[in-house]
């Protein structure tokens, strides 16, 4: 907990303050904002972007980007739906869907790490290719490729435990696990190392290419899980699921404090970013503000956050901050031995 507080960036503190102000202001105009129903609504919306944002955090900390998550979300939903429609038992259908996410993640990771194709390009390619494949499957016969799922599956999206919606529980569990992975395991440490200085990481014996591939696989799997939860919620797999989601996901991760330069970021930060964007969208919606205002607000936040990131990483500013905080740079006490 102490580490969490120490690691807070200025812009995250500002974000929390803004969030509190936002919630207070909206509730003043529209008390139903804090009603149980709306909070549950927000919680479910959180999971739709939140899961992919957690995966994207790892990708961006490692210095990459994954534009394909929206399409992989639809792929996962589609694969699961189609498998169930042809009679495959639910657990295997879910595994099949997860495997499809692994495959796309592997393609992304291998292209980026081994073939040295820029992440932006290859994940843009998979974004189009995967979405196209899903649309081709339905081939104009409507946007729903599967529906009427078994009750067990529907529970994942519509059920709740102790009042908490299932999608939220799943997402929170994932967040806890991924936070621990990032901060306390070798996998997380190597992610940070590679994102800061891939060559230094390589010289230390870290298998950089293998690790990057695993990270993109993680991102793909997160997208599939998100797709499964949405499908379970609406009880239908649609080819339009997740369209454009990748942009909101990236915005949430950056707003939450993950650096565009790689090597810096956190899961709690992403949690904050996703929470903020979700609440902001819901607030604008409940106040009947034009949906275009949401895009404007998201864009502005993203630009401000990116500017803050650039400023925070400028050498001159770091030196200034060090001097202000009284960091003593050159006193190294060394004593002679024997």
């Amino acid at each position: 907990m102490a580490d969490l507080i120490r690691g807070l960036q200025l812009r995250q503190v500002i974000l929390v303050a803004l969030l509190v102000l936002l919630v207070a202001a909206v509730t003043a105009f529209q008390p139903t904002f804090l009603s149980l129903a709306n909070v549950a609504n927000i919680a479910v919306q959180f999971s739709q972007i939140g899961l992919m944002a957690a995966g994207m955090t790892f990708v961006m900390i490692a210095g990459g980007i994954d534009l394909s998550v929206g399409s992989v979300l639809a792929l996962g939903a589609g694969v699961c739906g189609v498998l169930m429609t042809v009679g495959v038992p639910l657990p295997f259908a879910i595994v099949g869907a997860l495997l499809s996410g692994v495959v796309i993640g592997w393609i992304n990771g291998t292209g980026i790490a081994y073939l040295k194709i820029p992440a932006l390009i290859i994940t843009l390619g998979t974004l189009y290719a995967v979405r196209g494949a899903v649309e081709l499957y339905s081939n104009g016969s409507g946007s729903t490729i599967a529906q009427d799922f078994p009750a067990a599956f529907r529970f994942l999206g519509q059920g709740s435990v102790f009042g908490l919606p299932m999608p939220t529980i799943v997402t929170l569990l994932v967040y806890v696990v991924l936070h621990l992975v990032l901060t306390k395991t070798r996998f997380g440490r190597y992610t940070i190392a590679i994102g800061t200085d891939a060559e230094a990481a390589r010289r230390s014996g870290i298998l950089v290419e293998r690790h990057l591939t695993k990270i993109y696989i993680l991102s793909g799997v997160m997208a599939v899980i998100a797709g499964l939860l949405i499908t379970a919620q609406v009880n239908a797999a649609s080819i339009d699921l997740g369209r454009g989601a990748e942009l909101t996901v990236i915005a949430a991760v950056v707003v939450g404090g993950t650096s565009l330069y790689g090597g810096q970021g956190s899961i709690p930060g992403t949690f904050l970013g996703v929470t903020f964007l979700t609440i902001m969208a819901d607030a604008l919606d409940i106040l009947n503000v034009s949906p275009f205002a949401i895009d404007l607000a998201t864009g502005s936040l993203l630009l401000l956050s990116a500017a803050a990131d650039v400023l925070a990483n400028r050498r001159g500013l770091i030196a200034l901050r060090n001097r202000l905080l009284g960091a003593r740079e050159t006193e190294i006490a060394v004593h002679k031995l024997t």
Binding site: F187, R189, G195, A200, A201, S204, G263, K336
Partner: protein, 261 residues
């Protein structure tokens, strides 16, 4: 009189030759490194110091000649081979991860993990304790939890050296360790290098700073035009002689006699 060398050679470079295009970068070069010694490797730009270091560290394969480690012939095809054999090089870039802390960097790539191993759960407590022991062993007081980003150049150099201790490197090459450091920091790093000396390792310091060399090294090896033109214990030579060797080479090399009068 030669330095008393009670131990067997650790690394022997024998008749190593390498050509880049038409240029002979190293010309039948032979030099031996002993454990428990700090050797300064000096020479003007283009003398071949970097090439020699590249060969020892496995970055470059010689055209002719051989390397022997503890009496056994070795062939380093890549830097990874060299590292696996216990030859570690700290280049001027230092290769530290700024966003991690001191202990994270000391153990990077070789982190101890708790059981079960496949989870990769970092044994933070044990790393902290071990890092503190390492730094104490070098005579330094430095908080192992500080991020590299907040450290000065001298402190970073010390972290890079601590890493070598943890890796139990046998042959340690330090490339210009005091470059770009202020006086206070430079003295601190030099003291750490002296504390770093140990009977199980041979330390090679590539440097152009004569003051540093006479401060820290037991022996000076001077290179010129891809050859060794001088190999003296520091106690038996002077800055003037080193500069003369670097600039003009040895008298024997020039086939002449030292001037009289």
């Amino acid at each position: 009189m030669i330095l008393a060398q009670p131990s067997a050679p650790l690394l022997e470079v024998s008749d190593v030759t390498i050509r880049f295009g038409g240029v002979v970068a190293l010309d039948r070069l032979s030099v031996t490194f002993y454990p428990g010694q700090i050797v300064a490797l000096v020479g003007a730009n283009g003398a071949g110091k970097s090439t020699l270091v590249s060969i020892i560290s496995g970055a470059v394969i010689p055209d002719e000649g051989s390397l022997h480690l503890r009496g056994q012939p070795v062939r380093f095809r890549t830097p990874k081979d060299a590292r696996a054999a216990g030859v570690e090089t700290v280049y001027q870039g230092l290769a530290l991860i700024e966003t991690l802390d001191v202990k994270g960097n000391i153990f990077l790539g070789r982190e101890p993990v708790s059981q079960p191993g496949w989870i990769g759960w970092l044994a933070d407590g044990s790393m902290e304790r071990r890092a503190r022991t390492l730094l104490d062993g070098l005579g330094v007081r430095l908080d192992a939890s500080r991020k590299i980003r907040g450290l000065s150049g001298g402190q970073r150099q010390i972290v890079a050296i601590a890493r070598l201790v943890e890796f139990e490197a046998g042959v340690c090459i330090l490339d210009e360790p005091t470059a770009a450091l202020g006086v206070q920091e430079r003295n601190a790093v030099l003291q750490v290098i002296k504390n770093f000396k140990s009977p199980d390792r041979a330390v090679i310091v590539v440097s152009h700073d004569l003051e540093d060399i006479f401060n820290v090294a037991d022996r000076v090896v001077v290179m010129r035009n891809g050859r060794i033109v001088g190999d003296r214990p520091t106690a038996e030579t002077s800055a003037d002689e080193i500069v003369a060797l670097m600039t003009f080479g040895s008298y024997a090399e020039r086939g002449g006699e030292p001037p009289r009068g």
